[in-house]
């Protein structure tokens, strides 16, 4: 058994002629929190979707717990998903269900927990992300963006997954709420002993939640290291990105 929870080798994904991932190699060590940074449209979301089997890469290998997951069948996928949780960039809460039914979705549909127990558990998880019990019966559309993020987070951690994916957890939130979410992520990941893969372009958030950082650029991982190493690196791409400067090797096509 290797110490890597996720092992990605030579991953390629294109949409038509547009190449998005062009040979990604990336390891996520068990129990660690890895943050992938990169500009808008570099394929961060696509990377996560490939790992989850929502998109099928043209080439390359993805191993989770040493088992290949590219090209597995539906049944195996369902099993795989039972150990993963995901916070979507846009929340992706089910708007036909109430807040607590969203959080308890896995308990009710897959584990066949009875409604009352599921609701109590959902309220407990909601409380752990700082939401009062009276939110439980609301519909997701009645919540603010920050609250929706928290419900999404609650849904992602409710099944106590071994791996959690966070797709831009702090984007679109005010700095204080963003920091609250950061704390919640750290708490829930550490609390569960889970492995986490986060993608973001919010550097403050990356610094706070990352054990390691990797940078995605032009379809490849061009740099990785710890936060300390990131501050010392002279890699011009990383420097430009963390300084948020328009001058440098990264050219934005307008």
């Amino acid at each position: 058994m290797s110490e890597n929870k996720i092992e990605i080798r030579n991953l390629h994904k294109a949409f038509g002629r547009k190449v998005v991932l062009d040979g990604v190699d990336l390891d996520v060590v068990k129990g660690e929190s890895l943050v992938v940074i990169g500009g808008s449209g570099t394929g961060k979301s696509v990377l996560i979707k490939c790992i989850q089997g929502l998109l099928r890469p043209e080439e390359g290998s993805i191993k989770i717990d040493d088992e290949e997951v590219v090209g597995i069948n539906e049944e195996q996928k369902e099993k795989l998903h039972s150990k993963m949780g995901m916070l979507f960039q846009g929340g992706a809460l089910f708007d036909s269900l109430s807040v607590w039914e969203n959080v308890a979705f896995d308990m009710i549909e897959n584990k066949k927990v009875n409604k009352k127990t599921a609701k109590n558990e959902a309220i407990r998880v909601l409380r752990s992300v700082g939401l009062a019990p009276d939110v439980a019966d609301l519909s997701p559309s009645e919540l603010s963006g920050g609250m929706q993020k928290r419900v999404g987070l609650a849904r992602a951690i409710a099944s106590r997954p071994e791996i959690i994916f966070f797709d831009e957890p702090t984007t679109g939130l005010d700095p204080i709420m963003a920091d609250v979410i950061n704390d919640l992520i750290i708490e829930s990941v550490k609390g569960l002993g889970a492995t986490a893969l986060t993608i973001t372009h919010d550097m403050a958030s990356a610094r706070k939640i990352a054990d390691k950082i990797a940078m995605l650029y032009k379809g490849k991982i061009i740099w990785q290291g710890t936060v300390k190493e990131m501050d010392k690196t002279d890699n011009p791409y990383v420097r430009q990105f963390i300084n948020g400067s328009s001058q440098g090797p990264i050219k934005v096509e307008i």
């Binding site: 989850q52 998903h81 039972s82 929340g91 708007d95 979705f105």
Partner: protein
């Protein structure tokens, strides 16, 4: 020169053709997947119940209104038409046959396609573009079984029931016009309706209804499921769901009639 002309021609004409064929292939796969998933567990009973209520119960007023006026107008038309060769007595049976075989199934299906097919496409389409369908997958739930299967079963179950109710209401509409406007004797009208009542008229209507229900749900789900590109994409999906379902309903209406009655 000549070759390159042909090449250009093929390139221009070929693109939509290839797009059409690949869409047809995509649709066939969707149909096969739907049928397979409808027959294999797990089943989501609660979702089915919700669809049955949405599609069945809330469609009752529309179906009632369309079929009652259809029955009424047929009574009026056939009376004035048949008077020319002294066959007014046939009004009751003409109402019976046209309502049960044609009007109740086709009109109800078109109304439900507009009401429910559109709603399905919009709801599933929105779930697609807001990544709720991906979210289902990541929660170890097969989105096909959770979203598509209950809707297709609902279509198959609900439409025949709606049409049966529509039959009764439509015939009643004919009766009302026949008795209160055209002056038929109520007992005679009921008698001649009952005498002409044949199982085949009702059953073909119900077979049609089930097929139409399948078509409505299938196209509603398909268009929603494959929609992309935000709000505009969902809008297109909704329109396509209704238009394509309506056309297929009319085509299959002919095909089924041909199967049952051509000789």
């Amino acid at each position: 020169m000549f070759i390159s002309n042909i090449e250009n021609f093929l390139r221009r004409q070929g693109k939509p053709l290839v797009a059409f064929i690949s869409r047809l292939g995509e649709f066939s796969i969707f149909v096969a997947q739907s049928v397979y998933n409808c027959l294999t567990p797990p089943f989501y009973g609660r979702n089915l119940l919700r669809q049955v209520i949405d599609m069945g119960f809330y469609s009752l007023p529309v179906v009632g209104l369309t079929t009652i006026f259809a029955g009424m107008v047929i009574a009026l038309q056939s009376y004035s038409g048949f008077m020319r060769f002294g066959a007014e007595g046939a009004v009751a049976s003409v109402v019976l046959i046209s309502v049960t075989r044609e009007l109740a199934p086709v009109l109800s299906a078109l109304m439900v396609a507009g009401r429910i097919g559109a709603a399905m496409a919009a709801e599933i389409g929105t779930m697609r573009v807001t990544e709720q369908i991906d979210a289902l997958t990541t929660l170890s739930t097969n989105p096909f079984k959770y979203l598509v299967t209950p809707r297709i079963w609902a279509g198959l179950i609900v439409m025949p029931i709606l049409v049966l109710i529509g039959d009764v209401i439509g015939i009643f509409g004919g009766y009302v016009v026949g008795v209160y406007k055209l002056g038929f004797n109520p007992a005679n009208y009921v008698n001649s309706t009952l005498q002409n009542l044949q199982a085949i008229d009702i059953t073909t209507g119900l077979v049609k209804a089930a097929v139409f229900g399948f078509i409505i749900s299938l196209l509603g789900c398909y268009n929603g499921y494959k929609s992309k590109g935000g709000a505009q994409g969902v809008g297109t999906a909704t329109t396509n769901a209704v238009v394509s379902a309506s056309i297929l309903i009319l085509i299959f209406n002919y095909v089924i009639t041909e199967l049952f009655f051509s000789k």
